[in-house]
């Protein structure tokens, strides 16, 4: 059998063909049953559990030689784990990589949905730590499986309502549960709830991989995804008081950067590619020019 290899001794994209077939079958089922967590025989990967083994396996099963891969963590291409995963696929699959969202055909992400609107010819692969949205309400798999089978999601509503009773608002800010296509309640992975609206009616296919927990799930393109809420407490995303200090973007998710030990703060785009593109396009934030940008100088 001619199994093409880039890194010597390993198949294209590391996984053997039998494993890829098993993962691909799980992906087809996940697409056919939006939001349902398909069990799969997750393999031991050369990176630790909890560091993206699920996303890496999904990406490895999807990837072809013509793909261009982008990997982000916390919205950034340059966080250490994103660099490490990107390197892994450069080595084992020899695919082109990019930091530009618009140039990528496959984007693997941890904790963010890119700000740029995704297209139909793109695939977004999420790394998922705990795929079960009900896990912290009910630790037993045997119980949560039953609850999903019966579409019995009262527990989740009770939890959210307790928040309102105690805090006056829903106190879940990330990994905010959603209902997919009117049936399954799904954990969108720990993205800030700011990103939830981008998951619904997205032109791109979204795949979710949880390696340690051995689950794959999906949201097909243009699928209705509703963040759980109540009539008197509708779902709301976070808002920021000021625009990005570097590119002046509004309506984006911002990281808070501590500038000194006297309370100095600035807010900058969490999506680094989006921020760079805006600055290239001539947008100017109020701190731009006042601070050296390590990466661009380097």
């Amino acid at each position: 059998m001619n199994e093409t290899a880039t890194a010597s001794g390993y198949n294209f994209a590391y996984l053997d063909e039998q494993t890829k077939r098993m993962i691909r079958r799980a992906i087809l089922k996940a697409i056919a049953i939006p939001g349902y967590q398909v069990p799969f025989a997750s393999r031991e990967m050369p990176m630790p559990y909890g560091w993206g083994t699920g996303g890496v396996q999904v990406t490895a099963a999807v990837l072809g030689p013509d793909d261009t891969l982008k990997v982000i963590d916390q919205g950034s291409d340059d966080t250490t784990n994103a660099v490490s995963i990107r390197k892994f696929f450069e080595r084992t699959a020899g695919v082109k990589t990019t930091t530009k969202t618009t140039d990528a055909s496959v984007i693997q992400t941890r904790h963010r949905v890119p700000e740029e609107k995704l297209r139909a010819d793109q695939i977004l692969v999420y790394q998922v730590p705990i795929p079960e949205p009900l896990r912290f309400l009910e630790p037993r798999e045997t119980e949560t499986r039953q609850l999903h089978a019966l579409a019995e999601y009262g527990l989740m509503h009770v939890k959210l309502y307790e928040d309102i009773a105690r805090h006056g608002r829903i106190a879940t800010t990330y990994a905010y549960p959603v209902e997919v296509a009117g049936r399954y309640v799904m954990d969108p992975s720990p993205v800030p709830k700011f990103d939830n609206p981008k998951i619904g009616d997205c032109a791109a296919l979204q795949l979710y991989g949880a390696g340690r927990e051995k689950r794959i799930y999906a949201v097909p393109p243009h699928t209705k995804v509703k963040s759980l809420d109540f009539e008197d407490h509708p779902f709301r995303v976070q808002t920021f008081r000021e625009p990005c200090a570097l590119c002046a973007a509004e309506d984006v998710y911002l990281d808070e950067v501590v500038l000194d030990d006297r309370g100095g703060r600035m807010f900058v785009c969490s999506d680094t590619d989006y921020c760079e593109q805006r600055r290239t396009d001539g947008h100017r934030g109020k701190m731009l020019g006042k601070v050296p940008l390590g990466g661009e100088a380097a």
């Binding site: 059998m1 001619n2 199994e3 093409t4 198949n11 294209f12 063909e17 039998q18 890829k20 077939r21 098993m22 691909r24 079958r25 799980a26 992906i27 087809l28 089922k29 996940a30 697409i31 056919a32 049953i33 939006p34 349902y36 398909v38 069990p39 099963a61 999807v62 990837l63 072809g64 030689p65 139909a120 499986r145 039953q146 089978a149 019966l150 997919v180 296509a181 049936r183 399954y184 009616d201 296919l205 949201v219 097909p220 393109p221 243009h222 699928t223 209705k224």
Partner: protein, 195 residues
Amino acid sequence: MTVHAFTDPVFDAQKVFRAAMNVLSRPGTLVPLEADVRPPAPLSLEIAALALAFADHETPIWLDAALTSVSYVGEYLKFHTGAPITPHPVEAAFALVSEPALCPSLTSFTAGTADYPDRSTTIFVQTDTLRSSRSFTLRGPGISGTAALRADPLPPAFPREWAANRALFPRGVDMLFAADGWIAGLPRSTELSEA
């Protein structure tokens, strides 16, 4: 003319998978299937490529009467995929249908369980055309507004059979239709109505 499986097993399988993933993600959309295979007749190139890309020793295959009548077909699939051939549609992970008009009722296949709706049959159907003038309207996940399915011929009593399958959701079977080097998908989540 000798029969053969994928000439490039790694990349052919990947391309076929991406095509199948795309059509199931976007019900009704036609996607070309590029793979270099030559199966024994009456197994079509498209259905063979799908079986080679997805089946192995973990996935029993069911063959319809026309495919069963030629022993080469079963042998070809067993040799190249390692998949067991089952005479019982209810045991099949994949069902290969070469004559849609004679396809058994969708309820003869397995729809999975309420706990594990993924443990269901995926049916690959060879049709004459995916561009028939007779069209069904599709709605559901993967579709912005509406889409159309123009596969012809379809299994008997199809709109009714499919409505019954849709009513089982999240249980149910999923289907892929093929003709002339193209495929289209119909996942269980899709609602189908006469146009």
